[in-house]
């Protein structure tokens, strides 16, 4: 195998296409992966997000050649996979760990036997195997469960066995195929934290497939958004969160954080708060392109000073601020009341350094679509989304209006609390 230069990607897709005979149109083809070119660098935690059927699973299975591209090439650790014989391919697979949504542990083997399996394939000496299994189970915190069978473990424990097994032969790459999708939020957090530790401690490149934006937000540094077989958006996670371009990306981001209120929410708020409804986008940093040019500037950084300086009366109604890669990002919706001209003046000053969505007041409303069209923030949409969505709808939809103010402020508080717990656990 060629030695990988530090600048070369560890995984590279070059115009990769995977087509199947179409199930619906006889003689036609279905493109599971449609002309994907993507580089993943050593040490990355690279999230690939998309709805089911977007082709992300097929794409990631090409990295260890469980799937072969119809056209295009996949280069892993400097080797074009198409050039490998069956035997060479099996050797390469031992350097690529994989974990799965359903864990795929061997049900008739104990935890220790599961973890030892790849070592047996690699013909390790028995005493080395025992030591390695011990170390791995210690690393994932399952030393006490070595002699149990998978059916005796919880989901989170099973996935930790999966991770130990995937790491057994010291792989350079770990593929995680919806690894947390079958887990509850608490366990998801633990598994993600473990994956992060794997990445940091062993320098393993992690390729993470998911349909949960929160997963990407928590641990990935790069993200690719897939839709209908194509990568529609890719880049640094903060950049993508702060300035999503593709509608699919916006939908995903809307599931991960309370940003802009949706149209129904704005209408509801207007019923109780007749003043000027304004959403202020919060971005702690500028986003710069590779040449150092500012693509999207910071926003909402001086809102508190301006409110104080102009003395406008404000109510905090809705929104949330979260951090992506440690940088604050989000949106907060206010009701401003006071003399119209004064508020206009205040908003004009605010808009100088911030992205502002002005929904107008009850007496003089601005149509939702018009108001949003200028905003560069995720737009929540109805109907599609992941499991987070229904919970949010429930809160907004059927609540007694009187409770809503509290609820909505709670949203912000919730997030801040989440933030501190996250931080605490990672330390």
């Amino acid at each position: 195998m060629t030695v990988t230069q530090s600048n070369d990607p560890i995984i590279s897709f070059d115009h990769v296409v995977k087509s199947y005979p179409s199930a619906t149109a006889p003689g036609g083809t279905f493109l599971a992966v449609n002309d994907v070119s993507l580089d993943i660098h050593e040490g990355d935690i690279f999230g690939i997000i998309g709805y089911s059927g977007a082709g992300k699973s097929t794409l990631v299975r090409m990295i260890n050649a469980l799937e072969r591209p119809t056209t295009g090439s996949v280069t892993v650790m400097g080797t074009d996979l198409a050039e490998l014989s069956g035997k060479q391919l099996r050797a390469l697979r031992q350097k690529i760990g994989m974990i799965f949504q359903q864990f795929n542990l061997f049900s008739t083997k104990t935890v220790a036997e599961n973890v030892a399996y790849p070592l047996q394939l690699d013909h390790w000496r028995k005493d080395y195997q025992i030591r390695r299994v011990h170390d791995l189970l210690e690393f994932v915190g399952l030393l006490d469960h070595a002699d149990k069978y998978p059916s005796q473990l919880s989901g989170g424990q099973k996935q930790r066995v999966g991770i130990a097994r995937a790491l057994a032969t010291n792989p350079k790459i770990l593929l995680a195929d919806e690894a947390t999708s079958a887990l509850d939020p608490q366990t998801t957090m633990e598994v993600l934290e473990l994956l992060q530790r794997v990445n940091q401690k062993f320098g393993v490149t992690v390729v993470l497939i998911t349909h949960q934006m929160s997963v990407v937000q928590q641990i990935a540094n790069c993200v690719a958004v897939m839709s209908s077989g194509s990568v529609v958006e890719t880049g640094d996670v903060y950049d993508v969160f702060a300035a999503p371009r593709d509608p699919v990306t916006k939908r995903f981001i809307a599931t991960a954080m309370n940003g802009l209120p949706d149209e129904a929410r704005v209408a509801q708020m207007r019923e109780q708060w007749p003043g000027r409804l304004v959403t202020v986008v919060v971005r702690q940093h500028d986003i710069t392109d590779s040449a150092g040019q500012t693509v999207i500037s910071a926003s909402g950084q001086n809102i508190s000073q301006l409110i104080a300086r102009y003395g406008v009366h404000s109510e905090l109604l809705y929104g949330g601020i979260d951090t992506v890669r440690g940088i604050a990002i989000g949106a907060i919706t206010y009701e401003f009341t006071g003399e119209r001209a004064h508020i206009d003046e205040f908003l004009a000053e605010l808009a100088k350094n911030s992205d502002v969505v002005d929904f107008g007041s009850k007496d003089d409303p601005v149509e939702y679509a018009t108001a949003v069209s200028r905003a560069r923030i995720a737009t929540p949409l109805h109907g599609r989304g992941d499991e987070n969505a229904p919970a949010r709808d429930m809160r907004g939809g059927d609540n007694v209006r009187g409770e809503m103010a509290l609820e909505q402020v709670d949203d912000v508080v919730d997030m801040v609390e989440d933030e501190s717990t996250n931080g605490g656990e990672q330390r």
């Binding site: 469980l66 099996r90 697979r93 690529i96 994989m98 799965f100 061997f106 049900s107 394939l121 690699d122």
Partner: protein, 226 residues
């Protein structure tokens, strides 16, 4: 007292014949189970593996084997025994005797086993196979270390089931001079109107089946405890 139950047979003559019959039955059954069982395992794995979407998917091979199994398996064994006669002669050299009975039994057992093996491999979770592939295991290694171990408990029960089928086949060996308990029951019991002799053979067969089934259940239960 019923006349038919009166012991008109001389047990001092029958006893050695009975022992010989038991030995013949056990010989036929175990040789068939070993040869047919192993060949059937191989054929069953091939049937499973060539299924669409499986390890070595091959539509043509699967269709042919599947058809062959479907054609041969339902043939009543007594007819199969007769139909196979020319083949038996060319392979064994004779169409009479225990060896001549074992050959068609092995053939039938192979096909019967293959279907049972295939059916018991199908439920094995594809995810485990994919995991093993992702770890770099070869197809043969996957069969040996994942597929068969994962299906072992139902496979053992399937072989116990086969034991009964093969015992059934062995009872017909008498028609071609193969001897065995079936022949003993017919020749010395049924045809001589001696129910006691017939029932002696029946009881021995029942005991054999119970012992085998009991052992298989115990092993399967132990394997399934996880």
């Amino acid at each position: 007292m019923m006349v038919t139950l009166a012991s008109r047979s001389d047990w001092s003559v029958l006893r050695p014949l009975l022992f010989q019959s038991v030995a013949q039955t056990l010989q036929m059954v175990f040789i068939t189970l070993i040869i047919g069982g192993v060949l059937g395992l191989v054929l069953g794995v091939v049937l499973y593996g060539t299924r669409p979407g499986n390890l070595f998917e091959n539509r043509v091979v699967y269709r042919v084997l599947d058809f062959l199994v479907n054609v041969i398996r339902p043939i009543p064994f007594i007819i199969f025994l007769a139909a196979m006669q020319p083949v038996t002669v060319s392979v064994i050299g004779t169409s009479i005797g225990t060896a001549a009975a074992i050959f068609p039994m092995c053939v039938m057992c192979t096909f019967a086993t293959s279907r049972l093996v295939e059916q018991n491999l199908v439920p094995v979770d594809h995810g485990m196979i994919e995991a093993a592939r992702a770890m770099g295991a070869s197809t043969f290694t996957i069969i040996r270390t994942v597929l068969i171990p994962e299906a072992l408990a139902p496979l053992i029960l399937a072989y116990a089931f086969l034991f009964v089928g093969v015992l059934d086949m062995s009872a017909m060996a008498g028609y071609i001079g193969g001897g065995g308990l079936g022949n003993f029951a017919i020749a010395y019991g049924y045809q001589k109107f001696d129910q006691a002799v017939t029932w002696t053979a029946v009881v021995i067969m029942i005991v054999l089946v119970q012992v085998v089934q009991g052992v298989a259940n115990a092993i399967a239960k132990r394997l399934l405890r996880r």
